[in-house]
Amino acid sequence: MSDHKIGVYVCHCGSNINGVVNCAKVTEEIGKLGEVVVAKDYKYMCSDPGQEMIKNDIREKGLDRVVVAACSPRMHEPTFRRALEGAGLNGYLLEMANIREHVSWVTKDKEEATKKALSLVKGAVKRVKLHEPIEEREVPVTNTTLVLGGGISGIQAALQVAEAGHKVYLIEQKQYIGGNMAKFDKTFPTLDCAACILTPKMVDVGQSPNIELYTSSEVIKVDGYVGNFTVTVREKPRYINHDKCTGCGDCASACIMKNRIPHEFDEGLSKRSAAYIPFPQAVPLKAVIDDENCLLLTRKKCTLACVKACGAKAINFNQHETIHEFKVGSIILATGFDLFDAKRSPQYGYGKYPNVINGLQFERMTNASGPTSGHITLADGTEPKSVAVIHCVGSRDENYNKYCSRVCCMSSVKFAHLVKDHCDAEVYEFYIDMRTFGKGYEEFYNRVQEEGVHFIRGKGAEVAQKDGRLVVKAEDTLLGQYREIPVDMVILNTALEPRVDAEKVAQTLGISRSGDGFFMESHIKLDPVTTTTDGIYLAGCCQSPKDIPDSVAQGSAAAAQSLAIIATGKVKISPISASIDSEQCAGCQICIGLCTYRAIKLNEETLRAEINEAVCKGCGTCAAGCPSGAIKVSHFNDDQLLAQIEGVLA
């Protein structure tokens, strides 16, 4: 075996590592190993002087392998690879031992921590000897972008990419774009009307020559990799010919199911027909026929009143779903959120008492074009004289979601203002902490306090019905007393949750979700827009609950990421990939179904499996599954891993 010259560098990470692990001792011990020609520890290995130290040693001592014991490779592997390359060594001749996340952050006992760190570094030394130089690959980029989700952040992202002159495919699951924001009346803190600021953007989307809009559509398959994705989209039939439909609504008036189906856009507060216009400002402003309720489509029996009523002859019951395939360079995910179903907390009486409603229902109620034409009304049609707003329903609660939903404090304050404004009722806000952190937010809170709203510090614990009125039970914690406050209406400000299909979307796109169920960003602070899959970016509430300004900002940020790839024209892709030794392959085909990226195919002539390395992501699933040991993943082969284990156990 040829002798290597290995340099080992142990990082203190300030006191992050050195506070627990005795870095000097690890360095001293590791320096005693054969083939380790230099072992050093340093306060911040990732800093310029730290990197220089490594580079100098490579040049002066002729190192051919480097081990850095520091943080997670997710954090600084690229940094140190660049350092190696700067000194003329292939970046893949590096191995990192994670002695921060895996040791110092999770171990209290200093001696045990030092021992564990030493074991991990030994494993890395043993392994790095078997590393081979690998060259990164560069591939050209398709200059189109796919935006998934047509809410405010998706619209923002799509418009920005389109304005830069590049093609965008905007895919929306619903029949219209605008998302949840389209349902709002006023927006905090300035009380702009949501429609006034959103509608122009929606119209721009409809008119932009660079945006191809697909509503009633969903992504069913994503193949490929950064710069070269192939996305398959299924478009559901609306049974309306878009070219002919004028959006007049005659079909809706004629439909015999008129006023019989709870209207989703009004959160069930109004009824619609089976043929209907989603809402007056909808983009596209076209009718849609709901195949779950249309009598013709469900029971094959109907008077076809809609067809008769349609002057434009736009109704077509022979439409089928269409499958589209797009080649795109990057994907922006802006799929938004779902509202927590308040029925999961039966103590609040949602679904049981008609005057207990959720925030979106209140939004619809106050919206001038909503079901009550902007009037706040009780189930019996009268105006409430007192209203309670309960914060944190389903948020900040171990029983449901531990996180704070971030927007509810401000929207609750807005609700209070709107109640005051519309019917001057007494308003009681039950809150745990008031979180009004944005620009102009605290000022708005202050203004609403001055309007005479009662802010009660205590979480609403229960809503009961007593003598025909609702009663909110809570502790007024500032008073230190249990209180029962009778009101006419209760608004439950419910949590923003990951969408019900988040897992499916994550799987289709091959991205991760964080513990709270939202899509996971690369780095919560420094890289909140990119995902761990290159070329897929996040915008808006699908990453975490956020308000309109933040959603818009993130939409723009995601657009910038996408444009950056287009501007460079090419991307580097990871050289780590699997390969099949056709001499060993027995053609059993176990691997083929395992590959998430569809990179493996059977060669019909040789009856051996073959990997398309351009598509392969190097995940290793096939190598683990291959029973005959014919598949190897470069940089992660059996010999390397076994050597590492041997080193750790030594």
Binding site: D433, G458, A461, Y482
Partner: protein, 181 residues
């Protein structure tokens, strides 16, 4: 032995999460007897956190818990407040602060006395014992109800007991000694 009252509470099963309290008052709002409390459940947590052991253990409020577990199931921070109430009553018992609330705690000692002796409970005997230990006049209050129960055949006069009383008494004694460590 303990740095403060909070760490003492945390050392008992069920008391672990007390420091996670965010003082939202869900416990109080859910409690069917908090309306009658000077120190509501949330406040009791505050008092524990403020190391006011004496105030807490002498309080009548800890004897107002009906063990309905509403606070426990609703607590957004997973604090088992019903268990904490039990811990507080245990400590009040041990440290003799129970004497502050003799009228009520008398019932507990009557009940416990019967169990330790015989292993099974007899409501008739319990009421009599409780009344004699606290205020014999109470018997008069219970009498009309007692009569009805007798008529309906729902009062037992022969004191029930377990057969292996030695064993029962021994395990109860061992538990008592061990708990006293």
């Amino acid at each position: 032995m303990f740095e403060d009252f909070t760490s003492e509470i945390m050392s008992y099963p069920g008391g672990e999460k007390i420091t996670a309290c965010m003082q939202c008052g869900t416990c109080t709002g859910s409690c069917p007897t908090s309306h009658a409390m000077q120190y509501t459940p949330r406040k009791l947590i505050s008092l524990i956190r403020a190391n006011q052991k004496d105030t807490v253990l002498k309080s009548l409020d800890i004897w107002k818990c009906a063990s309905c577990y509403s606070c426990t199931t609703r607590c957004p921070r997973g604090i088992k407040f019903t268990d904490i109430m039990y811990i507080l009553k245990n400590l009040a018992w041990k440290e003799q602060t129970k004497k502050e609330n003799k009228d009520i705690t008398g019932f507990y000692s009557a009940f416990q006395g019967l169990i330790e002796k015989r292993g099974r409970m007899n409501e008739t005997e319990l009421i009599m014992k409780y009344s004699f230990q606290t205020n014999p006049a109470k018997l008069l209050e219970f009498a009309p109800l007692g009569m009805k129960m007798i008529i309906k055949g729902r009062a037992a006069f022969i004191a029930p007991k377990v057969r292996n009383q030695d064993q029962l008494q021994k395990i109860m004694k061992l538990a008592q000694e061990r708990g006293g460590e």
